[in-house]
Symmetry: C2
Subunit: 461 residues, 2 copies
C-alpha cells in the first residue's frame, strides 16, 4: 500500500529530502506532497547579496530547481500554500491556499519539517516604512532592487545597513557596488561577531579602507521617516544616520512556531531538536532539518543554531535517504563559515574564545601574520590566522582567518582537523599543498599551529 510523505517548506532541505526519497521509492510506493508558501522553490538565499550587488544578473540564476522541475519528478508540489497547523496525534497538517484562502487537512505517514528561519525584526518605530528592507527571500531581494531603481531617479545614495554579521557585510559590499555611501550600524564593538573582537577589528579596518563606515556599539532605536512616509534616517541611542535606503541584517531565528504549537521539542535557541538521523526527538515519523533545527557542535558538545545552505542541503539528503528506507546520519558541525567584503576574505571554524569559556574550556591563542603565496610571488597577500587550542592537551578548538585571496577556504584545513580531533602539534606535521603560487613553504595554518604549540607549552599544565 502506498504511503504519503508530507513536506513543509519547498527550499533546500524540504526539496532535497523529497528528491532523495523519490530516488529511493517510486510514486506507487510513496506519494510525496510538498507545501511552499512563497512563489519559489530551491533557491540560494546566500546568493541574494550578489544579485542585489549586480554580480549575479538574473534572479532566476539563484533558483536551483523550479516547481515544474520538481513536479517532473513526481512530487506533488503545492505552491503558495501555507501549513497553518500540525496535528501530531492525527498525523495530519492543515493548509491554506494563499490565493483562494481555501483550507484543508492532509494526512501523512512521514512528515518533514523544513520551515527554515525568519529574520530578526524588532518592533521598532518606523521599521515597516517604505525603503526599509530585509533580504531573506527572493521577494525581499526584488523589493530592495525596486527600491534602489526608484532611488536612481533621485540623488539619494545613502544606505544604512543594520547589523554587521554575514548578511550585513555582504550587503554593505553590494550597496557599495551600487554606488551608495554605506554606513553599517553594529550592536557589538566590532563587525562579525562570529569572530573574536581582535579579528573583527581587522575586518573593521579593512571596511574603513573600502570606504564603508562601520559604527560599533550602537543600538538602533527607531527608523525616522519623512513627509512622504519613506525612510529618512536611522536613529540609535546617541546619533542619527541619514538614509535613503535601509537594509536589515540582524540575524535570523528558527521558524518553529508551527512545531512549537504542536508540542515538538525545541532547544535553547528555539530550533527543533533531532536525533542523528534528523528525526525529531521522540517522534518516529517526523523529520526536520535546515534552518529550523539546532545542530550538535562537535567541538563544544552543545547544540547550536546555524542557518546555512550547506547544512540544509545535507539535512535534506539525509532525511530523504532515511524516509526512503536507506540509512544516513548527520554527525554535527564544527561551525565553519566563510564570507567576503569586496576582496577581504573572512573565515572561522570551531570555537571563539568566548565559546570556549562558556563550556568550561581553558585555552591558549596564537595569532600570526603570513601570506597567501610565497612572499616573493606576485599577488602574495597578507593573511592573519588566529588559532585557539585547549590548554594542556593542545587540542585544536578553533581557527579564524582574515585576509585576501586564498584566505577563506584555508579554513577547511582546520575544519577537517577539528572533525578529526587533532592537536595543534599534530597539525604542524600536516602535509599541505605547497608551491610558490599557492602557499609559502610553511602554510599560514602551519605557522599558526607552530605558534599555538609553543603557547600550549608555555601555559604548562
Amino acid at each position: 500500500m502506498s504511503e504519503r510523505l508530507v513536506v513543509i517548506g519547498g527550499d533546500a532541505t524540504g526539496m532535497s529530502a523529497a528528491s532523495q526519497a523519490r530516488r529511493h521509492k517510486s510514486p506507487e510506493q510513496l506519494e510525496i506532497v510538498a507545501f511552499e508558501r512563497s512563489h519559489f522553490t530551491s533557491y540560494s538565499a546566500c546568493g541574494i547579496p550578489y544579485w542585489v550587488g549586480g554580480d549575479v544578473e538574473d534572479r532566476d540564476d539563484l533558483i536551483a530547481r523550479t516547481p515544474e522541475e520538481h513536479r517532473e519528478r513526481a512530487i506533488d508540489l503545492r505552491m503558495r500554500t501555507e501549513v497553518t497547523e500540525l496535528d501530531v496525534a492525527g498525523s495530519r497538517v492543515r493548509t491554506r491556499d494563499l490565493e483562494s484562502g481555501a483550507e484543508s487537512w492532509t494526512g501523512y505517514d512521514h512528515l518533514v519539517i523544513a520551515t527554515g528561519a525568519r529574520p530578526v525584526r524588532p518592533p521598532l518605530p518606523g521599521i515597516d516604512a517604505p525603503g526599509v528592507h530585509g533580504v531573506q527571500t527572493l521577494d525581499d531581494g526584488q523589493a530592495l532592487l525596486d527600491s534602489l531603481s526608484a532611488l536612481e531617479r533621485t540623488d539619494g545614495r545613502r544606505a544604512v545597513v543594520v547589523g554587521a554579521g554575514y548578511i550585513g557585510v555582504e550587503m554593505a559590499e553590494a550597496l557599495l557596488h551600487r554606488g551608495y555611501e554605506v554606513t553599517v550600524l553594529n550592536r557589538g564593538e566590532q563587525p562579525m561577531a562570529t569572530l573574536d573582537p581582535d579579528m573583527g577589528r581587522l575586518v573593521h579596518r579593512a571596511m574603513d579602507g573600502m570606504g564603508i563606515t562601520t559604527v560599533g556599539s550602537s543600538t538602533v532605536t527607531k527608523i525616522l521617516t519623512g513627509d512622504d512616509g519613506r525612510v529618512r534616517a536611522v536613529a540609535t541611542d546617541d546619533a542619527e544616520y541619514a538614509a535613503d535606503v535601509v537594509v536589515l541584517g540582524m540575524g535570523v531565528e528558527p521558524e518553529t512556531r508551527l512545531a512549537q504549537a504542536a508540542g515538538l521539542p525545541l532547544g535553547t535557541y528555539g530550533g527543533l531538536l533531532t536525533d542523528l538521523a534528523m528525526r525529531v526527538r521522540g517522534h518516529e515519523n517526523i523529520w526536520a532539518g535546515g534552518d529550523c533545527v539546532e545542530v550538535l557542535d562537535l567541538v563544544s558538545g552543545r547544540e547550536r543554531h546555524i542557518a546555512l545552505g550547506t547544512h540544509a542541503n545535507k539535512h535534506g539528503q539525509i532525511i530523504g535517504a532515511n524516509v526512503g528506507g536507506g540509512y544516513a546520519t548527520f554527525p554535527g558541525v564544527v561551525g565553519t563559515a566563510v564570507s567576503k567584503v569586496c576582496d577581504l576574505e573572512i573565515a572561522r571554524t570551531g570555537l571563539r574564545e568566548k565559546d570556549a569559556r562558556d563550556v568550561g574550556l581553558r585555552y591558549v591563542t596564537a595569532t600570526v601574520e603570513s601570506t597567501s603565496r610565497a612572499g616573493y610571488f606576485p599577488g602574495a597577500a597578507p593573511m592573519t590566522v588566529k588559532m585557539i587550542a585547549e590548554r594542556r592537551t593542545g587540542r585544536l578548538l578553533g581557527v579564524q582567518i582574515v585576509g585576501r585571496e586564498g584566505a577563506a577556504k584555508r579554513v577547511d584545513i582546520a575544519a577537517v582537523a577539528l572533525t578529526a580531533g587533532m592537536t595543534v602539534e599534530q597539525m604542524t606535521a600536516l602535509d599541505l599543498g605547497y608551491a610558490p603560487p599557492f602557499s609559502p613553504v610553511w602554510d599560514p595554518v602551519l605557522v599558526a599551529a607552530r605558534k599555538a604549540v609553543a603557547a600550549v607549552r608555555a601555559a604548562g599544565v
Copy 2:
C-alpha cells in the same frame, strides 16, 4: 664543555636545523659549522621556474636568508666548501675548499646530512651542449636566463622541455611567458605521472589549449647540435624536435653518494633511512632530512622519495629541535603536491590507482565535475575531482584535482582527511566553508565523496 654540530648542505634542511639548534643552545654550549658547496644558502628552488618565466624579477627574491644572515646567528658557515668524505667511525668529515682546493678534516659530535637531491641527467649524446639546461640550482637558473638573453638577439624561439612532471610543466609555462614555442617531451603517455592517466589527460588537453605541444610516450635518445656546437634539436626514438633551447625536467634522485660511501642505510629509492626523530637509523648522532632522505607514506605504509621544500623545512626544524635537546618527530607524509601551468591548477594527495595496487589495496574510484564557486557566481570555473577509496572499508586513499582558480589548495581537505584516516562516508559530512564566491553549496570534494560512497557500496564486500 662545548659540543660541535656539523651540517652538510646550506639549504632548507641544513640551515633550518642549524638555526633551530641555535635557538636551543648558545654558542658556548654548541658550536655550529655548516658546509655549503654553492654560492647560496636557503633559497627557494621551487621558485626558479617563476624567476625564469619573469613572475619573480630578482634572483635574490628567492633567497630566504643569506650567508651573512646565518653568520649573524653565530653559525660558522663555510661557503664553496664541499664535504668529500664522511668518516663515521672517526666522527669527522673531510672538506675541500672549492676556491683554493685546500682539504681538511672537521670532527663532530652531531652531524646533519642535508645534501639534497640531484637532477636525473642520463648520459645522452649532446646532453652537455650549450643551450641544454637543468633548473635545479640558482646557478642553473642564471645560466638558462643567460641563454635566453642570448637568443633574444636571434630569431630562435623554439624550446623543448624534456619531462612533464612538476618542473617540466612549470618550465613550459615559463618559456611560454618568454614568448617561446614550447614542446614538452614526456616518457609516459600523459603529462604529470604523479596523477592517474585519466587526470593527466585533462592536463594534456589544457596544455594543448595554451599552445603547449605535449608529446607523450616519447623517449629522448640524443641531443643534436649544430656547427656552432649549440643545441639544434632533440631526437626521440621516432622523431626530431627542433630546439633553440632545451630544459631538462626529468626528476631528481637523492644525493647520497657521500652517505653511501660511509655505509649509512639507504632505501629503495637511494634515500637515507631515518627514524621518526630524523636520526639516521642506527646512528645516535647523525641526522638527515630533506631531499636526501626517504619518508614514510602514511597511506601505503611504504617509504617514498619526495623532493619538496615544505618537507625539507619541517625536517630541518625537527632535527634542530632534537639536536638542541628538545623533542620533535616527523610522522610521515600523505603525498600532497600542487602545481600550475598558466591558469590550470593541478593537485594530488595520497595514492594513485597504481600505488594502491602496488601495496595490495583494492579500491573504487569516483570522478566528478563541479565548479570552484556557486555555478551562478561570476568566475565559477570547472573543476574535476577524482577520489580513490578502499573497497569494503571506504577509507580514503587518494584525491586528484585538476581545475582553475581554487582547485589546487582544495586538496588540503583530503590531505587532512588522509592523515586522520577518514572514510569517504565521514567526508560527506565535513563542515567545509560555504559561500557563493567560494564554493557551490556542495563543495566539489563533498560531491566526490558522495559519489565515492556510492561506489564503495556498489562494489559490495
